[in-house]
Structures are given as C-alpha cells and as structure tokens.
C-alpha cells in the first residue's frame, strides 16, 4: 500500500510528499488542467462566489453598523456620545453617553481577566514545561470543554448558583452584579488564554532552556527568567484575544449582571454592558427606525471597533511569534 503511494507520488512531477504538496497552485500539472470548458468556468465562478460570501459578510456588518449609526449621530452629536456620563435613552430625560456601558463592559472584563490570567498562565506553564506528554494530551482538550459550554448556560450558573454563593462572603452583593458573571466569564475565557499561551511557551526553542540549565539555573528559574520573557508576545496575544472574547460576550452579562447602565467600578452593584444593552432593546418592543432603536447599532459599532482593534493587535503579536521575531 505504502509503496504504491510513493510510486504515484514520484510520478507526479516532483511532488515527493503527497500530503504537504497537495496544493494545486504549486503543481506543475496545474496549467494543463486550467479551465477549458464553459462548465469548468461556471463552476470556478460559483466557487469564487462562495469564497466572496465571507467578504460580503464583513462588508455587510460594517455597512449596517455605519449606516444605522449615521442615523443615530445625525441626532446625537459624537461629543455627547463620548462626553456624557449618563446612558438613559429609554427615559424621558434622554442621555446618550457611552461611558456607563463601556464601564460595565470593562468592569466585567477586568474581573474575568483577573480570574483567567493567573489560572490560564499557571495551566499553560504546567502543560508546556512540566506535564508528561500523556497528561498534556488529555488535559488540553479537556480544558477546551470550558469554552464550548453555551453562554446562556454560564449565565444561568452565574445568576442561580455563583451569585448566591458569593453573597455569603461578600457583604452588600446585589442579586444582579458584575462580580458573579465576571468570575464565570473568567472560567469561559480560561481555555483561550491557557491554550494560546501554552502554544507560545511550547514554541520557545529548547536551546534557550539548555543555556539556562548550563548556567546552573533550576527549572523554575529557567521558566520565569528565560522562557516566559521569550514567550511574552504570544502570551500577550493570548490575553488580548481573551479580553476581546470577554468584551463581546453577551448572555452571561445579560442574564446575571443586571440592566442598569451606571458609571461605577463597584463590582457588587448591578451594571449593564454594551452587549447586554443590545439584548435589552432587542427584547423590548422598540419600533424600528426610531432613535432608541438606532442606539443599538451605535453601541454595536463601538463594540465592533473595540474587538477589531484588539484582534488586530493580537494578530500582529502572534505573527511576530510565528516568524520568530520574539527572540
């Protein structure tokens, strides 16, 4: 069986490894099989259109958010949006300052990162540097389970189990608060931070560790003084992607954090995040085309720009790691 496959492989114009040189772009036979018949061209066009759907999706998101936000900003000035400290579009005394929603988002995200960063980093160091190969193979996918749980389920846990539990230890903790959902969100983004950090730590060349050992450093010293600084870009990318995930997370905060947009840093009080506000308006019966309706697109645009910027930074950091630029 395997001899046959090598035979066919070497016949195929210099493709010695049948799997890695599968790419038709590289095949010397490519030009021979360039589309000739009309049906071939139609098929190529249809497949190309499928590829373009993803581009149109992005364009669609941008156009929808910008168009509806333009309607919003024709009535509410950008100065008010970024300057006012109150968000009360549904009250008679209307204020359209994004800060309370942004503060709610940043507060829950900060709590989530405070939970996920230490745990995720410890898990990553253990998996990459200490765990036996077999344990690593089992533990890494098991940890991923945490990211696969539907967020509505996490929201239920935060509201019904975690908050009542926390109320026993934290005086003054409201039934809806930032702390409970923040902690649960931390559990949710833990695999993102752990898994990507582990990749970064694992990719640090063995020679660096060996050099540290040769200088008499112990393993812990090597990990903290040599390996972690070398993997810094990759770990940074992991954290930023975790933050981006937490900012865009919706159901946990919509269920358990409350619906009161307020500018506070107190994790015990009810707050509202940008995503939870969009849910709140979507559930209500706000007529389309009104200013109140358009607020969700303005908030959505802010959310889009925020996550896009974070993802772009993370992408650059990761590319630096892949190119070996971190060293």
């Amino acid at each position: 069986m395997s001899r046959e496959s090598t035979g066919t492989g070497s016949n195929g114009g210099g493709s010695s490894d049948p799997v890695s040189t599968h790419d038709s772009r590289l095949s010397t036979l490519d030009s021979l099989n360039a589309p000739r018949a009309l049906s071939e061209r139609v098929i190529a066009a249809v497949l190309f259109a499928c590829g373009m759907v993803s581009i149109f999706t992005t364009l669609g998101i941008v156009v929808v958010l910008v168009k509806e936000s333009a309607g919003f900003f024709s009535e509410v000035s950008l100065g008010q949006f970024l300057g006012d400290t109150q968000w009360t579009p549904l009250f008679t005394d209307k204020h359209f300052g994004i800060w309370p929603l942004l503060a709610g988002t940043l507060l829950t995200t900060a709590i989530a990162v405070a939970v996920a960063l230490p745990l995720g980093l410890l898990a990553a160091i253990y998996l990459a540097e200490f765990a036996p190969e077999r344990a690593r193979k089992v533990l890494k996918p098991t940890l991923e389970v945490l990211a696969g749980i539907p967020t509505v389920v996490y929201g239920y846990f935060a509201l019904v189990y975690i908050t009542p539990l926390l109320q026993k230890f934290v005086p003054g903790l409201a039934g809806f608060n930032a702390l409970g959902p923040g902690i649960v969100m931390g559990v949710m983004i833990l695999p993102v931070i752990a898994s990507l950090s582990e990749d970064a730590i694992y990719a640090v060349p063995a020679s660096l560790r060996e050099a540290a050992y040769a200088l008499g450093a112990g393993r812990l010293r090597t990990v903290f003084r040599v390996v972690l600084p070398s993997a810094f870009s990759g770990i940074g990318a992991a954290v930023i992607l975790g933050v981006s995930r937490a900012i865009g997370e919706t159901m946990i905060v919509a269920i358990a954090a409350g619906q009161q947009a307020r500018l506070t840093a107190d994790p015990r009080s009810p707050i509202e995040t940008m995503t939870a506000y969009i849910v709140q308006i979507s559930l209500g019966d706000t007529p389309t085309g009104t200013l109140e309706y358009r607020t969700i697109f303005a908030v959505g645009l802010a959310l889009f720009l925020l996550t896009l910027a974070l993802n772009a930074v993370a992408f650059r950091l990761r590319r630096r790691v892949l190119k070996g630029g971190a060293l």
Binding site: M1, S5, T8, G12, G13, P18, V19, T21, H22, S24, L29, I43, L47, F48, A49, G51, M52, V53, S54, I55, T57, G60, V64, L119, A123, I125, Y126, L127, T142, L143, V145, P150, T151, V152, V153, G155, Y156, L159, V160, R209, E210, Y213, R219, L220, T222, L241, G248, T250, A254, I255, T275, I278, V279, S282, L283, F297, G300, L303, T307, L308
Partner: protein, 295 residues
C-alpha cells in the same frame, strides 16, 4: 529537536527534585482541575435541580404560565428547524469557499484578503451577526422574524469555522490522487467531484457537526433578530416565527420565580445532552474516517 527528548532536559529534570518545583507543579495542576471541578459542581447542581422536571411531559409540553406543566416542544422543534436549515445553507457555502481557496485560487491579493477576512470574521462577537441579520435578512430581504432569517444568520456565524475545517479535510486528500485523475483525462471538476469530494466528505461533515454543536447553544444573535420568547405553536414552514431551546432557557432564567429556574435547569440538561450527542457523532465520524484508508 523536541525539548522533551533532549538529554540535557532529562538532566535538568533529575536535579529538579526540589520542593518549590514540586509545589509549583501542584499549583499548575490545581489551576486546571479547579475550574473543571467547579463546572462539574455546577452541572451536578443543575442536574439535581432539574431531575423532578425531566420526563416525557417536559419534552412534549408547550410553554405555560404555570411552571409545573410547561414544556419545551416548540423550542426543540425550533432548534431542529434552525439546525437543519443552517446546515443546508452553511455546508454548500463553506465547502464551496474551501474548494475555491484550496483547489482553484491562485495566490493573489484577493485570495490573501479572503483568508485574512475569514480570520477576522471568526473574532467578531456573535451578537453583531445578530444586528447584521436583523437589518439584512429580517428587514431588507424581508424574511421577517422567521426561522429562515435565524438560520441565515447562524449560517454566516458558522461560515468561518466550516471553511477552516473543510480546508483541513481537503488537505488530507493526497495530491497524487488528483494527478492520477488528471492523467486519466479528467478535468478539474470531474476530479473534485469523483475523487476529492467523496474522500474528504467525512472530514467536512465532522467539522460541520462540531460547528452545529456550537450553534445549537447560540442565543444572542437569535434574540437580536427577534426570535420569540413565548411560542405556543410549532414552526410549519421556513417563514414561521420561532423560538429555540437556548432562548427558552434564557426566558425561564430571567423570570424571578424559582419554579421557572427549575425549568431552565431542565432545559439546560436537554441542551447539553443534545450537544454531547452531536459531539459524539463527530467523534464517531472521525474514528471511521481514520480507519478508512483509500491509498
């Protein structure tokens, strides 16, 4: 050279029998095990709470103002409609895009842009897909708040994942087989249809099922496009209004009465069971795929 096989590493390991390092290892293991134990405890709690409600009546009942007799049949039917339609839309689009990128596209700025864009889309919060669906499918195309609009929205949400897994499946088909087919005079589409697609299909399906397992729990985009929270009928066409299992769970969770929270817990048990079922199907398919050898 892998670090783990390095003799110098072994040497370092041997002199590493020190208390602080052992303590650090224990902390590392705790950092992994504790969150998992927390999750297990939460699920245990939900299962215990849900136990009295779990039964045939719950699965076949309609929602009600009385928590004790409320059921999830419309939610289950809605989720089934959604998943079937989402798969019908996402598979051809995702597989088509993957085929284009793997088999047809030549390196160009546009190809690079498409690839970069797929990565970007994977990072867009799911609720923004909901805003897209609300504006495009519900309003501009005029689908209304229907199960079709929901499926279109979810299909776009899944597209990056379906494309990425389909590309991986296409890459497992050896180039030598394509070349053999070309040598026999087949053109590119014949080769794809007769050789490449049949071989990569289990891999593609595995990816699609895993994506659906994720989609079945998606709540935010469906709320945004206007899925109903109280539905006392079953969807009878793609234009029907609908609810879905995660929406029903959300609805029950947001009620103050504890009796509805019990219903939410029961809904969660059913939802997780469905997800496990889908994941199990994917694992089974993958195992079959690995056993089958064509070349």
């Amino acid at each position: 050279m892998s670090l783990r096989t390095s003799p110098i590493h072994d040497l370092a390991m041997r002199r590493a029998e020190l208390a602080p390092e052992r303590a650090f290892q224990a902390v590392g293991i705790l950092a992994i095990v504790l969150p998992l134990l927390l999750l297990l405890w939460l699920f245990g709690g939900a299962l215990v709470d849900a136990w009295p409600r779990l039964g045939w009546d719950f699965l076949t009942g309609f929602p009600s103002r009385k928590a004790e007799i409320a059921g999830i049949l419309p939610a289950l039917a809605g989720s089934a409609w959604l998943m079937a339609l989402t798969a019908l839309i996402a598979i051809p689009l995702g597989l088509g895009a993957a085929l284009y990128l793997e088999e047809y596209a030549r390196p160009s700025r546009l190809t690079a842009l498409i690839e970069l864009n797929i990565g970007t889309l994977a990072g867009v919060p799911s609720i923004l897909y909901g805003l897209l669906g609300l504006e495009i499918f519900v309003r501009v195309v005029g689908m209304g708040r229907s199960v079709l609009a929901g499926a279109c929205t979810l299909a776009l949400l899944l597209l990056p994942m379906v494309i990425i897994t389909s590309r991986e499946a296409l890459r497992t088909v050896p180039q030598s087989l394509r070349e053999a087919s070309f040598a026999l005079g087949a053109d590119r589409w014949q080769t794809l249809r007769r050789i490449v697609l049949p071989m990569c299909l289990p891999g593609v399906l595995t990816g699609v099922i895993l994506s659906l397992a994720r989609a079945i729990g998606e709540t935010a985009p469906l709320i945004t496009i206007g899925a109903l929270t109280y539905v006392a009928f079953l969807p009878d066409s793609v234009h029907s209004a609908f609810t879905a299992l995660p929406i029903q769970i959300f609805n029950w969770t947001s009620r103050p009465q504890a009796a509805f929270h019990v219903n939410a817990a029961a809904g969660i048990v059913v939802l997780i069971a469905l997800m496990l079922l889908l994941n199990g199907a994917a694992i089974w398919l993958r195992a079959r795929l690995q056993r089958r050898v064509y070349w």
